[in-house]
């Protein structure tokens, strides 16, 4: 099985290197064929591993080689495929394969076609390292690796120029890329500190050894480890207050948004919390904090999605919101449910993004949904798939989202955290509303796209076929909830609902479905005929607040970015040049000028030399006399 492990891991790497060979040449079709095939091979191996783990119930382990061996530190490139990893691998490679195929269509006319595949495969490789590593530092390699690939891919169209924030909220692709990288770095520092804490207190970084020894640590320390690791997770999963980069990351090509910023990378934080479940289950207060933060982010992001007009940003907010759901579940101890939602979300959200990609292509990269409308006639299949994905997202029976989101709500109810339940329930309604607001505005109503002179067309059939895989998964994945639970709880702690909750399940389901359906209906009546806009609402304070993302990006700009730049300028010009360096030069100048002064004593006049001599003689005599007297 080790063989398949390495194939699954390195096939994307080979794909990346292969594409990189041609990165600077113009488009070569075979790159777009070889890359998906190699990712597909990785998918096959992942599936084999999954079935092996399923049958044997044992993790597959492999140790490639030593990495850092210093002092007591002994870190290897060790990999372990257990139930959680196997699920993650299959999810990652499935979405990746689809996105790779789809990219052939989306990036068809791009000059840097080959380069794109190189980056995309490199991302898959990093993600595989992230989920497959058997120790925290290996995870960190992947963690940073996906960060760099994300940086490369967000800034893929690096040649675009910087705009002001009013024209383009994310300034430019390279700006957004830098923002994403730097914000993630803040979180990574937190994670590093967590790793240091683990190392110095347990002497190892391997998951199994760490989790086995957790009992030996005192509670405060565990809390610190839990918090610092979670800070790392917050950055990667774009949780408040480190969330702004995710929407700006939409500057990247849409397949990237689908793969990285919806299905895989952003869920790495959730993966970390699930992976570290033995830790988090020992520190309920931190877990509860995670659940609260997740809940807050769920409704916070959903509220911003309500008014946004940018096709991709709406989906990005919904991703953020769903990540909040996952953290809420993980924080409440329902780790397997979090993982289940993670997988389901990956499928339908990637589908949603790819659908958005079709729309963008059809609209010549226009993103303002108010300029679209009535696209259903021209793009029926895209409409169908985006509709399906939105239904899944809204949690409508029998699609995947229904089963996973419902389980989270049940868990919230079961824990007697009714506040969390209520907020998540409310968010479910908001989710349904904004997703269908988008679908209806884009696909139904009057055909506003004529105004901007667009000629929409349906995507190429192979792109649609690739998407259909995700569509099928988005529909049927939820049906396997029981099997999934049985499989995964061999590794993750089972989550049992109490008797009380069991009785309530029907009611809860109905209530949840009711609010989702309400949301869809509201959206339908408001937007299905034509675009209803009211000046009054759009000028209201609440609308503006939401539209400007609660002014948080502005706040960051004013409170962090600008002051930092100004402070740097002061540190350089005022402090370093005028204080530190001036002191150094001042010392040198003092010595020089003192020499200049004493130089005058040597005026060449014998008479004055004699005076100096006499003065010196007298001085020495006086000193001699005084010293004699004192003695």
């Amino acid at each position: 099985m080790e063989k398949y492990l390495y194939i699954a891991l390195f096939a994307p790497f080979v794909s990346s290197l292969f594409s990189a060979l041609f990165a600077q040449q113009k488009k070569m079709q075979f790159v777009g064929i070889v890359a998906p095939i190699l990712i597909g091979i990785s998918l096959m191996s992942s599936l084999l591993l999954l079935s092996h783990v399923h049958e044997s119930g044992e993790a597959v382990r492999a140790n490639l080689m030593d990495w850092i061996v210093v002092g007591d530190m002994n870190i290897t490139f060790g990999f372990a495929v257990d139930q959680v990893t196997a699920v993650m691998m299959v999810v990652v490679t499935t979405v990746s394969t689809v996105v790779h195929i789809y990219s052939n269509y989306y990036m068809d006319h791009d000059i840097s076609f080959n380069r794109f595949f190189s980056y995309l495969s490199a991302f898959v490789f990093s993600m595989m390292i992230l989920v497959m590593s058997d120790n925290f530092l290996g995870l960190f390699i992947g963690w940073e690796g996906v960060g760099v690939c994300s940086w490369l891919l967000i800034g893929f169209w690096y040649h675009k120029k910087d705009e002001s924030k009013d024209v383009n909220p994310s300034v430019s692709p390279s700006w957004a890329a830098n923002e994403a990288f730097i914000v993630n770095r803040i979180a990574d520092l937190g994670m590093l500190v967590g790793i240091f804490l683990i190392y110095w207190n347990l002497g190892t970084l391997t998951y199994t050894e760490v989790f086995a020894q957790l009992g030996t640590l005192d509670h405060t320390l565990l809390v610190w480890i839990g918090i610092t690791l979670f800070i790392g997770a917050m950055g990667k999963s774009a949780q408040f207050p480190l969330h702004t980069w995710l929407t700006d990351a939409m500057e990247g090509p849409t397949p990237v948004s689908a793969l990285i910023h919806a299905a895989t990378m952003v869920t790495a934080g959730v993966y970390l919390v699930i992976r570290a479940n033995p830790l988090y289950s020992q520190i309920p207060e931190v877990s509860y904090g995670i659940a609260l933060l997740g809940t807050f982010v769920a409704i916070f992001a959903a509220s911003m999605a309500l008014v946004n007009r940018d096709l991709k940003r709406i989906v990005a907010y919904s991703t953020l919101s769903q990540l909040g759901y996952m953290f809420a579940a993980a924080g409440l101890g329902a780790y397997w449910i979090a993982l289940f939602h993670l997988a389901a979300h990956a499928f339908f959200k990637a589908l949603l993004f790819l659908g958005a990609g079709n729309v963008m292509h059809a609209m010549h990269d226009e993103l303002d949904i108010f300029k679209m409308g009535g696209l259903k006639k021209k793009m029926f299949w895209s409409f169908l798939m985006m509709g399906l994905a939105s239904l899944a997202l809204a949690g409508i029976y029998p699609l995947a989202g229904f089963f996973s989101k419902d389980a989270i709500l049940e868990a919230a109810f079961n824990e007697h955290t009714y506040g969390i339940w209520f907020v998540l329930w409310l968010t479910a309604g908001l989710t349904a509303f904004y997703s269908f607001r988008q679908v209806f505005i884009v696909f139904l109503g009057d055909e506003r796209y004529h105004e901007i002179g667009a000629h929409p067309h349906e995507a190429k059939p192979y792109a649609l076929w690739a998407m259909s895989v995700l569509a099928v998964l988005a529909v049927i994945f939820g049906w396997f909830r029981e099997d999934f639970m049985e499989f995964i709880t061999k590794f993750l702690p089972a989550y049992e609902m109490s008797e009380h909750t069991h009785h309530m399940v029907w009611i809860l389901t109905i209530v949840t479905t009711a609010i989702a359906v309400t949301g869809i209906l509201v959206a339908f009546f408001k937007y299905s005929k034509k675009l209803n806009r009211s000046e009054k609402t759009e000028n209201s304070f609440a609308y503006k607040l939401l539209y400007n993302q609660y002014y948080i990006p502005h706040f960051y700009e004013k409170a962090i970015t600008k002051p930092y730049a100004e402070l740097s300028e002061i540190a350089w010009q005022e402090l370093d040049m005028k204080v530190v360096d001036a002191t150094v030069d001042g010392i040198a100048k003092t010595i020089e000028s003192s020499g200049d002064v004493s130089r005058r004593a040597q005026d060449g006049n014998l008479s004055s030399y004699l005076k100096w001599m006499t003065a010196g003689f007298v001085l020495i005599t006086i000193i001699a006399v005084i010293s004699v007297v004192i003695k």
Binding site: R599, D603, G604, N605, L606, S607, L610, T614
Partner: protein
């Protein structure tokens, strides 16, 4: 009133001071020479008087040495002075400050 050692030493000190003042104040090189001669003689008086006081002839011997050296010094010095005068036409120290730093 007998003349004691103190009187000689006071005389020596007075002469030395006069010589020193001359060295400091005089601007003419020739006068400087005279002033140094006065200082040397002040030292001689001190040597001789102390030598007689402690009954040790070394001091008087020293004085003789000093007279001899002073004589040869004057011979060489005056020769140099004549050369300087021939070259610069003056013996004024303020005008001879070519070694200014």
């Amino acid at each position: 009133m007998t003349i004691t050692l103190t009187h000689y030493l006071v005389l020596s000190a007075i002469l030395f001071t006069i010589g020193l003042a001359g060295v400091i104040r005089r601007k003419n090189l020739l006068m400087l020479f005279f002033a140094t001669e006065i200082m040397l003689n002040a030292a001689n008086i001190a040597f001789v008087s102390i030598s007689s006081f402690i009954n040790d002839l070394s001091g008087q011997m020293f004085a003789l040495f000093i007279i001899a050296i002073a004589a040869s010094e004057v011979a060489v010095g005056l020769g140099l002075l004549i050369l300087i005068y021939k070259k610069y036409g003056t013996l004024d120290l303020d005008k001879l400050s070519t070694m200014r730093g």
